[in-house]
């Protein structure tokens, strides 16, 4: 809906930058530290459909953001026929909601919580699977062995959305890092690039175990397999377990070898004979693979379970 109270968003930001170089610039880089405060943050927010509309642009509150960006380049080895260069970039960032338009109160429907980050996951908290020895207790919750057991946060023997949900993770990483290394030896060049993100959550993992649609192979509960991982399959429940979304939050942290490339520059004797100025032959492995991942059925870098890995060969010619 048109919001006649809409105003400008304001941001004040402090930046401290430092460029440095040591050992005759064998080590050099930049360091940026920043802190900012945004007031009257402009965002689309959910509103009550009683107004006739379900969302509007609004000045929703104030947020703080602070972080550090660091870049370090090092020349590790520098000989006439061999060099090794390393470059490391690090970004650490944390945003938080200081206040909302409604005051120091959480806005659950928009999933904005005072003191928390702006983009969070908010859901029931999975404790495990109801087991046969606990069936009496399970029955109090209307559950049976094999159903997902979620935490009864306020202990009222009733699982409801009013008081049994909590923040299950953050959508954005707290730390992003990239590391590249380049080696040159005579006419050969080898480089690789490692990329990583830490401190965020992926929304994946819920399975309905209902038997109609394709799904991952999972370790599901049966009376003979009292696992706490996945609930028992249930054809009758088309939507799956009522709390299946509580299975949805996985660590997204990963370290990935994104790129490896090797190249060979043809000696000028050879290129001259071919009447060329220069020529480089190279091979590149793109999206090489994960060195570490917090979630084993998805590529947290790309956010999907299917992805391309490519091997590229090429020739660079200068005339």
């Amino acid at each position: 809906m048109a919001n006649e109270d809409l105003g400008w968003e304001h941001t004040t930001q402090w930046n401290l930058g430092l460029d440095f170089g040591f050992f005759r610039n064998r080590i050099y880089g930049t360091l940026d530290a920043y802190t900012s405060k945004t007031t009257d943050l402009l965002m689309v927010m959910s509103i009550l459909p009683l107004t006739g509309y379900t969302s509007t642009w609004a000045n929703v509150g104030s947020t703080g953001n602070k972080g550090i960006d660091l870049t370090i380049n090092t020349i590790n080895v520098k000989r006439s026929d061999f060099t090794w260069l390393t470059s490391l970039t690090l970004s650490a960032n944390k945003d938080k909601i200081i206040e909302l338009a409604s005051g120091k109160e959480d806005d659950i429907s928009n999933k904005w919580f005072i003191g928390e980050r702006l983009n969070v996951f908010y859901d029931f908290d999975k404790k495990g699977i109801w087991q046969i020895p606990d069936s009496t207790e399970a029955a109090l919750y209307g559950a049976e062995p094999g159903d997902i057991r979620v935490a009864d946060l306020n202990g009222d023997t009733l699982i409801d959305a009013n008081d049994d949900k909590k923040i299950r993770g953050y959508k954005n990483p707290t730390l992003t890092a990239g590391l590249s290394n380049t080696f040159t030896y005579k006419n050969w060049e080898l480089s690789f690039f490692i990329y990583s993100r830490f401190g965020f959550t992926l929304e994946t993992g819920a399975e309905s175990l209902q038997g109609r649609y394709a799904q991952r192979v999972v370790n599901y509960w049966t009376p003979n397999n009292p696992t706490n991982e996945y609930p028992s399959p249930d054809y009758n429940s088309a939507a799956g377990d009522a709390y299946k979304s509580s299975m949805n939050y996985q660590s997204g942290s990963f370290i990935k070898l994104r790129n490896v490339s090797i190249g060979y520059i043809l000696p000028s004797k050879v290129t001259e004979r071919m009447h060329l100025k220069s020529m480089k032959v190279y091979g590149q492995l793109m999206n090489a693979g994960l060195l570490y991942s917090g979630c084993d059925w998805i590529d947290p870098d790309l956010g999907g379970s299917t992805f391309n890995r490519s091997l590229v060969f090429g020739v660079n010619v200068g005339f």
Partner: protein, 657 residues
């Protein structure tokens, strides 16, 4: 040359100065938006006309998608879950039905969205609408629609926030009104509408005085029902009399009358064809083949009722048979509530016979079962011949066994085999979750493709038969059973077979295939214009009238009925028997017409009937007579500037949710 240059330079510098000056004023920041309309449009007559046209879309909402039946047909007594269990939580009432369940908020959000439009209209029409001939009509349409939507909300959720003015800024402070207050508002708005609306519509589908009176009568009846017994005692007598008064007014208005033959209502032969113009129809959401107005959905309810035929050998899916979403499987109650020999409504509501439309896939005779040995391994039926028969017989019928049906050419689906005893929750015969006697009232053979979900049939929201039921029930509730009889008989007399009628004839909307250029060139279609009446009932051919069997000669025909489940439902007093009879008669007349849950909830018969007749429904009497208030509402609403605490939300939620 030099001079020319100087002149050019001068011009340039002047231009630059002018440019700077103009950018110092604020004019350039102002833009006149000419491509989009805003709410100022609703302060013009054309805008208000369009606004009212727009709110008619919300009538279509009730047929647009799966919420059509989940909130009305599931979880009651007429249907249980078929082969597709996508929405089973609405039938079983399990933990997947909760304040976060999709359709609970979809219904809420859509009703309030439309109520806001009505509020704009009601606020602006008196001030800005000029043309006197249509001014009252537009205002009446807005009052009707607001009442209609609040009525829907109170039927589903109980008391809800009443908001009667349009919002101009973001508002958060709301609280629930009581059901009593909502009913007062509904009745007040419907009453306004009855005063303002015309007797004859300017265009087909427009709301009339009679539609307003019908729903006003219905609202009075609902308020006087058992669900409201905590607070309605001071209203009941007056409400029932008002229900009778307004129902009578519609019945006697001269504009509406019952269709002569019940089958006419469902005999859909083409888009906007004769069955959609019957004087029995009081209000229908207008769907058509106009793709500009069909929106995201069209009328999709044709999808939800059919059982699967396409996977049987010799069959393939076609336009006349429809797409089988198989959401709603008829319960045994739905079949047994009819006197299937004398009540033609059963055979005019259900599909029992299909023809072979894929002869190359037809099954062959197994050795020893063919009519003669030389026919072994030859196709059991050819294109256009009977391929599927549903036999609706009773326990004790010894004609069929799993063995002897192998001698029959069509695929035979038998309700009770030899020796099986009666069970109202299935477990007999060879019906399955995907193979059941399918309600065929809503079939749509006009669609522009086999896969098309865009149904083009109107969605009936009120027809005169229900008005009769409202009056009959109101009289019965007042203890005046004799006065109720003529109303019930009006429907039962029509339902009787007339003298000379061919009882083996079947009609449903799949027949529109014949006028549909996408389908009418097919060599074979699954649609059959015959039913299994005579074989199912195991009687010889007759064309005698069944009027005397259908007509109630006195109230003792109601109280002494042995076919109305009085024992199963524990009905012993006349009042109890009458109410159960009325609910049964509503099933017979209005089977599947998207209102059952609301009738059972308001009469507080939901738990009893659902647990007695529905194999999976397990409603809780302390919880399930009302839907959950959507969690989004509880999370967003504020009180004195603050969002609600968990316990305040719990207090605002309906009990048990």
């Amino acid at each position: 040359m030099k001079k020319v240059k100087r002149i050019i330079n001068t011009i340039l510098s002047i231009t630059i100065i002018v440019g700077i000056i103009s950018s110092c004023t604020k004019d350039f920041l102002e833009e006149e938006q000419i491509t989009a309309l805003d709410t100022d449009y609703y302060t013009t007559e054309a805008g208000l006309d369009d606004l009212i046209t727009g709110i008619y879309q919300s009538l279509k909402f009730h047929f647009n998608y799966e919420w059509s039946y989940t909130t009305t047909n599931y979880g009651a007594d007429e249907f249980c879950v078929g082969g597709d269990r996508t929405m089973e939580m609405w039938n079983s009432y399990n933990t997947n039905l909760n304040s976060l369940t999709d359709h609970a908020s979809v219904l809420w959000d859509n009703m309030y969205g439309n109520i806001n439009s009505c509020n704009i209209a009601i606020q602006n029409i008196p001030e800005y609408y000029v043309t006197s001939t249509t001014k009252n009509t537009r205002l009446g349409e807005a009052y009707f629609m607001r009442a209609f939507d609040y009525f829907k909300l109170v039927k589903q959720y109980g008391g809800v926030p009443i908001k009667l003015y349009p919002s101009t800024s973001v508002e958060f402070e709301f609280t629930r009104n009581t059901a009593e207050e909502v009913y007062a508002q509904v009745i007040s708005d419907f009453t306004q509408a009855t005063i303002l609306l015309p007797e004859t519509p300017a265009e087909t589908g427009r709301i009339t005085k009679w539609a307003a009176q019908h729903f006003l009568a219905k609202a009075y009846l609902f308020r006087a029902s058992e669900l409201n017994n905590d607070w309605n005692s001071s209203f009941v007598d007056n409400d029932l009399n008002m229900a009778i008064k307004y129902a009578d007014s519609v019945i006697n208005c001269g504009y509406h009358s019952l269709a002569k033959d019940y089958a006419e209502l469902w005999n859909f032969t083409e888009v906007d064809g004769p069955n959609e113009l019957l004087p029995e129809i009081i209000l229908a959401a207008q769907f058509s083949n106009n793709t500009a107005t069909q929106g995201r959905y069209g009328n999709q309810i044709h999808l939800y009722y059919p059982s699967i035929y396409q996977t049987l050998p010799g069959m393939t899916r076609d336009i006349s048979g429809g797409r089988e979403f198989q959401r709603m499987r008829s319960t045994d109650y739905a079949l047994d509530v009819f006197d299937r020999v004398n009540d033609s409504r059963f055979w005019k509501s259900y599909k029992t016979r299909y023809l072979c439309n894929n002869p190359s896939g037809a099954p062959v005779w197994a050795a020893g079962y063919a009519p003669s040995a030389e026919l072994d391994s030859t196709p059991r039926f050819a294109g256009g011949e009977d391929a599927i028969l549903y036999i609706i017989n009773n326990a004790g019928d010894n004609r069929y066994t799993t063995e002897n049906i192998k001698y029959r050419a069509p695929h035979m689906f038998i309700r009770y085999f030899q020796g099986e005893s009666e069970d109202l929750k299935g477990g007999h015969g060879n019906y399955e979750v995907s193979r059941f006697v399918a309600l065929s009232k809503f079939c749509d053979g006009s669609r522009d493709g086999i896969k098309s979900q865009f149904g083009q049939r109107d969605g009936i929201l009120a027809r005169l038969a229900e008005t009769y039921m409202i009056a009959a029930e109101a009289y019965g509730r007042l203890g005046n059973y004799d006065a109720a009889l003529p109303y019930i008989n009006a429907l039962r007399d029509r339902a009787a077979y007339v003298d000379g009628e061919d009882r083996s004839t079947h009609t449903d909307g799949g027949a529109a295939w014949a006028n549909n250029p996408v389908a009418n060139t097919a060599e074979f279609v699954s649609y059959s214009n015959k039913n299994t009446y005579f074989e199912s009932n195991n009687i010889g051919t007759t064309t005698a009238s069944t009027l005397s069997a259908m007509h109630l000669n006195s109230t003792s025909d109601i109280f002494n009925s042995t076919k109305d489940f009085y024992d199963e439902l524990g009905a012993s007093s006349d009042a109890d028997k009458f109410m159960q009879f009325i609910l049964n008669e509503r099933s017979r007349e209005l089977m599947g017409e998207l209102m059952r849950w609301e009738d059972l909830a308001r009469t507080k018969t939901l738990v009893l009937r659902a647990t007695t007749f529905n194999d999976e429904a397990n409603p809780d009497a302390n919880k399930h007579y009302l839907r959950p208030i959507p969690q989004d509402f509880l999370d967003l609403v504020r009180k004195d500037g603050h969002v609600l605490t968990a316990s305040e939300k719990q207090a605002m939620q309906n009990p048990g949710w």
